[in-house]
Amino acid sequence: MSLTSAPPALAAVTAPRPGCIGDRVLRNEDGRFLAGHGEYLADLDVPGTREIAFLRSPVAHARIRAIAIPEGAEGRVFLLKDLGDIHPVRAVLTSPGFRGSDYPALAADTVRFVGEPIAICLGATRAEAEDLAQEIVVDFDELPPVVEIEQALDPASPSLHGWPDNICFVSTPGGGDLDAAAKAAAVTVSREFRMARQCVVSLEGRGVMAWWDRRLQELVVYSSTQQPHVIRTVLAKLIGVPEHQLRVVAPDVGGGFGVKNNLQQEEVAIAALARRLKFPIRWTEDRREHLIASPQAREHRVRLTAHADAQGRILGLEAEAVVNAGAYSIWPWSAAMEANMVAGILTGPYAIEAYRGRGVTVVSNKAPLGPYRGVGRPSACFTLERLVDEIARAVGREPHAVRIDNMVRPEQMPYRTVTGKLFDSGDYAESVRQAAAMIDVPAVRARQTRENGKGPRFIGLGFASYTEQTAHGTDEWIARGLTEVFGYETATVRFTPDGKLIIEAAIQNHGQGLETTLAQVAAEELGVDPADVVVRHGDTAVSPYGMGTFASRSMVMAGGAVGRASRQLAEKVKRIAAHLLQVKPDEVTLAGNCAVAGARSVPLKSVTDAAFLHPENLPAGEEPCLDETTTFQPLSGTGAFAYATHAVVVAVDTGTGLVEILEYAVAHDCGTMVNPMIVEGQVQGGVAQGIGNALLEESPYDSGGQPLASTFADYLVPGAPEVPTVRIAHLETPSPFTAYGIKGMGEGGAIAAPAAILNAVNDALRPLGVELNETPITPKRILTALHDARTERAR
């Protein structure tokens, strides 16, 4: 086991106190958003700002012969050569065999996807900048594009990056004796699954603003990003400005979901240019840019074979996952992130002892892939959970019963999976039982018998279970071969002389409620009112170094750091209070903004007054001031595993091909919950995105590599009528590896929804001979499948 020796200092909270860990505290950040006073990137008001329009490639694959800039546009159009001495982005894994490629901030010689930036154009308004971009003439020498997975796998296709073929990386996780499993199996079930390419769609697009601050002699970069410190580190290297002369700030960020969790080419280009200009410049991504040129997600083809006994217990699993990662590796994840994740996590919550996986990353002339809520796991869960349903059918059992029998049992915890992940705690099967009870399986089965076949509407029931690796630490990022290791988080907790508290954290809050939940952690240790705590984040100038908000890590990591810092600070507060109260420090507790010892108490304000303004009132040897900075790393380097089972009932209209979700239930366990209201909001929001993944969202390309979805009229995201209110049951098994037993949970809702919904639709349509194994299941796909099944039957 990769555990450090120290036991967790911050134990799980069993009985929540008001305002502290476990309480449904209303959010501190709501006030400004409800007033319309959120300040997002496009709202910043800095005098003299010029707006940017990027000239982007209209073709998928071409060499640039020449770029003709209109006369009189000097000082308003900038190409790569105008950005000074900067390095191309080169995102690589340290894993042997990984093929790297250069991704320049602006394309100069070759364009490799529609939307790739070529030039920066400036104007007083975005409209003027766009006018200018339209006047630039680029002479392209078009090359044949590589578009779909099969083309990218074909060694005869043109090579994008001068490699022998278009395969970027192959990973082969696994272990155990698969041949023995195959021999012992009573049933063997195989399928091919596809998950379509998606766009991420934060409602606010990306955006970057930058200027050179003459007084501080620093480059200021505002970016709608999830990870300002890390962006500063890499920008400094690429554009040659030292980190102490670079400040990166994320203002209010209107949703991220992973798409703002990368180094953006636009960040590099704009930062490099701003250093050479005397005025601020800003780019605000519009929806079309977001849909065609932002990092996209998914596009997987997975072939999966399971060998199972007569009860449906899986003895062995074989998988090949091919991911079309688009044109470039984006920093820091690289193109191989998705395929590696799918292949590495495919055994799910099950005790599968033999596994042979292959994750293949191919490149193509599409927008690069980046992280999107779930990263690889929605696809891994979709393929495995679809197959579990087919196994159940093959052995004639209820799918949820087969799930229960396959799951890792509580007494096996901590459990090391065949791919090396360490499951920390929980009763996985109990989540299935609770979801099954919530959805009332016998009642749904009775309804199906009653209704299916009587009209065009068919009812179906689907389950899906998963584990969600969260707050991965040092070991995990090293195992994945990342060049930077995101193993910890940091926070400073400081009192002000008037007795109030400020938390300075390196994470970035963009909807997760961290301005409230981190305050709750401080309240737990320091007895302060969380509504009165200021949480500052997202700015390299206001917090110590840290990694940012992604990978369901902030509550575990930053929560742990705030907890540790607050605990240390509490010791000092107690020493000072004890001196003021003339008692022993261990008699003092902190609650209600006071230090209390029996019947006597002193307000925290008196303690801070002594600490900051009256050192003469401090105990002998006590240093003035009250602030602490600490870091936190979970005890297990592979993080804490949350898990859940989703159960869904759908009605499929065989006349229109429309799917209606009738019931949706989730039984989940994310360890200790800091704020159940926020947890439920994350589950519900994740499920909504999973519904989009299952039913609506797809970014198709034509054979020339042109993206076909460039507006919200052709890229459909779920609206209020499509998303039911999810019923949620909480299991709460603390993680032994984290502060307070917290597990991350931000991505889970999105992981299981595609699997559960496709299982339900397949359950509904099975009597009609239809099986659907591709997302999204649009009305067209459903009607086509129904038509094909009818034709088949007629034969």
């Binding site: 609206g719 209020a720 999810v726």
Partner: protein, 164 residues
């Protein structure tokens, strides 16, 4: 081109290009940055405002077409009892996460309640169908609007009874 209208009750005259959208105009010079742009093609509803009391998408409304109208953004709802109630309900029901869709949601919800009084959940969801939220999955928003709607109905009924 010159155009005159009232913005949140204040008379303004602006010199705009024919292509300038209402959203760009009020966000720019007048700093009404509650007007958010999520698509700029009339689908997402983040830019929702009132024009002469009716909801409209400011991203696809040309400023030049507004002569003589009254435009209200979220900034113009100060002291509005129903909007205050909606804000409270959005907070109590966790109807917002990143806050980007929120101003448009609030204005749409305000309009629904004013025009419709009471609605079934399905009709309420239809009424919100023109506003995309990517974060919340709508449950908190629907619960918040329903709560404000019920209470508004009660208040209206109480006022009617009191008037009798």
């Amino acid at each position: 081109m010159k155009v005159s209208f009232t913005l949140n009750g204040e008379a303004i005259t602006a010199d705009v290009e024919p292509r300038t959208s209402l959203a760009d105009l009020v966000r720019g010079e007048h700093r009404c940055t509650s007007v958010h742009l999520g698509c700029e093609h009339g689908v997402c509803g983040a830019c929702t405002v009132l024009i002469d009391g009716k909801i409209a998408r400011s991203c696809i409304t040309l400023a030049v077409a507004l002569d003589g109208t009254a435009v209200t953004t979220l900034e113009g709802f100060e002291g509005d009892a129903l909007m205050d109630r909606l804000r409270e309900a959005f907070r109590a029901h966790h109807g917002l996460q990143c806050g980007y869709c929120t101003p448009g949601m609030l204005i749409t919800a305000h309009d629904l309640i004013r025009r419709k009084g009471a609605l079934s959940e399905a009709a309420l969801r239809q009424g919100l169908a023109g506003n995309i939220c990517r974060c919340t999955g709508y449950a908190g928003i629907v619960a918040a609007v329903a709560a404000a709607m019920d209470e508004h109905g009660d208040t209206a009924r109480a006022a009617a009874i009191a008037a009798e």
